[in-house]
Symmetry: C2
Subunit: 189 residues, 2 copies
């Protein structure tokens, strides 16, 4: 039955993992940082947190500090961490790419803190392989159809192809960055 978690659920898990927070904190993170893709509305976040808790992926404890203003702080459970790791370790499919780069980048952004640098590199390599195939198929489709398109259609398609090519270049850069980092750490130890 595999426990289906929507994108927002993973975003919450990823944020809670290094830093237990309240629903309100999470809302502010979504509204104030560049994670605005996710809704900061209470109607999205509080139900999502409850679902995660019901699935045993997070646990909330009511904070009773100075004031009596109730505030529930959630932290990721062992099960939640395992689920996060599974998500990050999943190989990138062409379907993932079709859905857009956002969720992939979220996975990558969390990967190092959640599962270590080795997992981050794994993810990058999987992404690179998937992107190569994706770019090739986009180019093929472009070749076969660009002549029938109006200028704006063609340009929009081009933007997609070039964006993917550029993203592929970025994976190379990211992998190199990790290589340099491990060399530095290796020689420093």
């Amino acid at each position: 039955m595999a426990l289906k978690i929507p994108s927002l659920g993973y975003a919450l898990l990823g944020l809670l993992q290094p830093k237990p927070s309240s629903g309100y904190d999470l809302r502010k993170t979504f509204s104030s940082t560049s994670m605005k893709t996710y809704s900061d509305s209470p109607g999205a976040i509080y139900p999502a947190l409850r679902r995660l808790e019901q699935d045993g992926l997070i646990r909330g404890t009511i904070e009773d500090g100075a004031g009596l203003r109730r505030r529930q702080v959630f932290h990721v459970t062992a099960r939640g961490l395992a689920e996060l790791k599974k998500w990050i370790a999943r190989p990138i499919t062409s379907d993932d790419l079709t859905r857009g780069y956002e969720e992939i980048m979220l996975r990558f952004a969390f990967s190092e803190t959640v599962a270590g640098a080795a997992a981050a590199v794994q993810l990058l390599m999987s992404l690179q392989a998937a992107l190569k195939a994706h770019v090739a198929s986009l180019q093929k489709e472009y070749e076969s159809s660009h002549k029938m398109m109006p200028t704006s259609g063609r340009l929009a398609f081009e933007s997609g192809v070039r964006g993917a090519e550029y993203f592929l270049q970025w994976t190379q850069y990211a992998l190199q960055t990790y290589e340099k980092e491990t060399r530095k750490k290796g020689s420093a130890s």
Copy 2:
């Protein structure tokens, strides 16, 4: 009350406008071309078409040609065309950019056929202005936060910033393409 149309609705309108089609045709377009972002499932498309018809944006006529296999072909009404044009003419907001480039590119891809080259250029200029502000704010956020991030987080952020910068460059290229085109047409006439 402004008639709210979801992204899928506009995608359908945009496809139907130059070429009336059946639900089945549209599903195949979504599954076979790079418009896979949109679901090709009947549970998404047929209800969406019915909603558009109820709002008077498209009208379906049952085709009775050779065979008796029923097949309903939808075409965009005057009201639907007006709605499409309004959608394309809306200036690009920072909100649009936050939600991702896909819907913006859809608007642009359809713009020329639906509203003419001048509208396409208008859209590009609006996009360029919005992107400049967006890139600047992303860079600012990057500057103030990149030192606290793990490598993977930083790289993911960089990918977002650079992607936006690249997209901005593309708008320049697209505008130049239109300039060249109008010059050619102007001198040819």
